[in-house]
Symmetry: C2
């Protein structure tokens, strides 16, 4: 769209909504009525509806000086889809509300929505509603996602059993390292705008932070191999914090083995550059959007078929808390140290 | 809770969520899983799900210098429920996300949620999920509501027919006058903090602005009397703007009669004090949260049973646009003049 700039004010709220939603193609037969009325209508005969919502706030969850708007839109959808997969459900519709100040042009918002629609397309999800309003300061994005699940097949956090194996998909800590890299280059740029950013060849951590994916493939693998996790959630705040939700609600503890934590080679190398232990990244770095789940020991053989799943520990008595067995065999109690938007850095 | 002040920071995000949701009582059998997991689970065998979302932004939709937090929470829920009733559906669950700066204490947020829970209780709705995050500036509230409707009984905006009668529930313009009153008293207070606010005895407009209700009773009346509106929506931006959605999507025009517009006596009196024509308030004042709908002429006798419903006009050809017949019999074409958060005052 070149350098054209249309002010949001010129379009008005309804013009903006029309502009942002005109290319929607409804993908699910269940979506009877989408954008353009007071509410969306969905048909769910014989299925259960699953709904979740996440809000992203400028200056808290993202920094527009290095997060391209299209990636931001993509990520805003993905983090919501991840919650639905974590229920063992299939996302089907999203509702998106945004508050924007007049420093955003219509073209900028178009970029944002292009990223959302791309995620919708790839994950077969319909954007069925939302709200668009002005803001006196930063950008706020609120996404609600609805999904469906075969009756009684949804998986909670509270149903892990003692002796269950603790598993995680993919790898951990890369998004945290990606963020460190972007923050470093931003500091350098602010000190000397003539220096070109050195993002290196280690693009994996950047991609993990800027454009994460949701683990639909893992939910599919589990179904195909008839593995029903006893508890499941997604990794958003770092597993040392997230696993505590499973422990607390299941009234259990757990033991995690440091040498079982899946960490990508690029992440390890860059963690070294930043002088951060990669185990810390894996345990405390948030925004991995992997699935963290528990399975019966009987399912161990089946789970090892997937190279995308690591068994990282097992569930213990509540009194044991969350323990880490280090590579050298030492035992540490882990404290709750995940990311919390209310804590000051 | 007296003057105790707990910083949000001290509780952390999960502590805050626990604190804010600990008193929830699930009301609907369909609500299988509520707050505390990645997503909420609902059961809708043989029903259709309806979902809607609205975002309220401090400084745009509300001013905390005169909107008590409890009322604000109540209103944030009501404006969403109103969207569901406007579909001829029954609201059942809400998801609430808030972004708050550290100038809000836990007690203040408790007040906000108390208002939300009160609305939930009165309208038989469950709060089933949400997100709570920090903000660098103002308060942002995003509510998503899910409801159910008997299959194919939902009512769209696009299905009005030429010759249909245009109806509205309750009365119009009071919320706008309530806002003018609050703005006037705020200006006086800022100029001279010693002057006590003079909110007078005309409490109805204030209540309409600060603590509106959603018209569940109208949906019930229509069902009981077997009146199926041909199109329906709620009045949020002012009927001169809102009716255009019915006209545009139904490819029709409409004629509205000034002397049929329902305006409360207190509203008329105060409009006079403010030197604003009350017809302007009724047409352009937003936030009434009444239902605006069209019915077949055959239903005229049945609709007159309700004193809460006024027939204000009828649907015409698209070429006629939105016309007002004044009390003196003159004909005016109405321009789109409703409230738009992107327009500067």
């Amino acid at each position: 769209m070149g350098n054209q700039r249309t002010d949001v004010e010129d379009l008005g709220e309804f013009g903006l909504i029309d502009f942002l939603t005109k290319n929607i193609e409804i993908q699910n037969a269940e979506t009877i009525l989408g954008v353009g009325d007071d509410a969306a209508v969905m048909d769910y005969y014989g299925k259960q509806t699953v709904a979740s919502t996440d809000m992203l706030v400028e200056g808290v969850h993202f920094d527009l000086s290095y997060a391209p708007l299209k990636h931001l839109g993509y990520k805003a959808v993905i983090v919501n889809l991840s919650d639905i997969y974590a229920m063992n459900a299939e996302p089907q519709q999203i509702l998106v509300s945004i508050a924007v100040s007049n420093r955003f042009s219509v073209e900028a918002l178009h970029e944002l929505y292009e990223g959302m629609y791309l995620a919708c397309k790839l994950y077969n999800v319909d954007l069925v509603g939302g709200d668009t309003t002005s803001s006196n300061s930063g950008l706020v994005i609120s996404v609600t996602v609805l999904g469906s699940v075969t009756p009684d097949k949804f998986i909670q956090r509270s149903t892990a059993k003692k002796g269950n194996l603790l598993c995680v998909s993919g790898d951990l800590g890369a998004a945290y390292i990606g963020l460190q890299l972007l923050e470093r280059e931003k500091r350098i740029f602010l000190e000397n705008p003539d220096v070109q950013p050195d993002l290196g060849k280690q693009t994996y951590p950047l991609e993990r932070f800027l454009k994460p994916e949701a683990r639909r493939d893992i939910v599919k693998f589990l179904a195909e191999h008839e593995i029903t996790p006893t508890a499941m959630m997604d990794v958003s705040d770092g597993i040392s914090s997230d696993v505590r939700h499973i422990c607390d609600s299941s009234k259990l503890g757990c033991t995690i083995y440091e040498d079982r934590l899946p960490v990508d080679e690029q992440t390890k190398k860059m963690a070294l550059d930043f002088n951060i232990g990669y185990t810390i990244c894996a345990l405390q770095g948030g925004e991995d959007y992997e699935l963290l789940f528990t399975i019966s020991q009987d399912d161990y053989d089946k789970i090892t078929i997937s190279e995308q799943i690591s068994v990282i520990g097992h569930m213990t008595d509540a009194d044991d808390g969350v323990q880490l067995i280090t590579s050298s065999g030492e035992k540490h109690k882990l404290k709750r140290l995940g990311w919390d938007s209310f804590k000051q850095d």
